[in-house]
Symmetry: none
Subunit: 117 residues, 2 copies
DNA sequence: TAGACAGTGAACCTTATGGTTCAGCATGAG
DNA sequence: CTCATGCTGAACCATAAGGTTCACTGTCTA
């Protein structure tokens, strides 16, 4: 497979691709939480949760800090920028194409109707 | 592992997580293309490309149509809605806590720009 | 000081993913 | 009709991903 590159976009999108991780983000959007709390909430082992959190942290979607023996997790703020920018760029393109080309492509006549012209 | 659910968000985000697939979308944003053309462009087998395209199609990011023996691929339009909504919802939460990212979302074109006749 | 508690890390298991090759199967051009 | 072209599908392979358990470290607390 050789996934040679893993730029921010890869990290962020694939972090977001997992429903559990999206759940974690939603949960954290309500309140900060410890690893244990999250593990309980999502019914998985501490270790499993830790892995998710590591990914989320690497993708800069979550920020954690360990005080004493408990690690507290919170949402990291300015993180969707790259994704939004990317999606937005593609979206722009659509807008352009729709106004111009869309009607033609969308309503492309069925093959047998192409006799005239 | 048992990935029991695979709702639109999963599909879309994980489709977007792969750099090749993002590349395909970018390429298609410039012009429609056949499977062969895409496979050549991304230096992979037809079959490999087909798999990517199937995923993209299932995620409703790409639309294909076969005419004769060639299948033409084009961007599908109104597809980031769910993701934008989700991210935006999370972002709302931040807004209460931080106040940074608003500009990005504001710059975004309205998700439903498909007002074509 | 003795546990208990919170988190880590290594090893492992199973399934998913990204890719390949090879063998078809329609379709279009001579 | 024949053959090249364009795509499909099945089988396979290596690695990544999502999870587990078990052993361990560090930190409270009684």
């Amino acid at each position: 497979m050789v996934q040679h590159e893993s730029p921010p976009l890869d990290l962020a999108f694939s972090a977001l691709a997992d429903p559990t991780r999206r759940g974690i983000l939603e949960r954290l959007s309500q309140a900060d939480a410890s690893v244990t709390a999250l593990a309980e909430r999502f019914a998985m082992s501490l270790t499993g949760m830790k892995k998710h959190l590591s990914l989320l942290e690497e993708a800069r979607l979550v920020q954690t800090r360990k005080v004493g023996r408990t690690r507290t997790c919170r949402l990291a703020a300015p993180t969707f920028d790259a994704q939004l920018a990317w999606m937005s760029a593609l979206h722009q393109t659509w807008a352009a194409r729709f106004t111009a080309l869309d009607a033609v492509l969308d309503d492309l006549p069925p093959p047998q109707e192409r006799t005239r012209a």
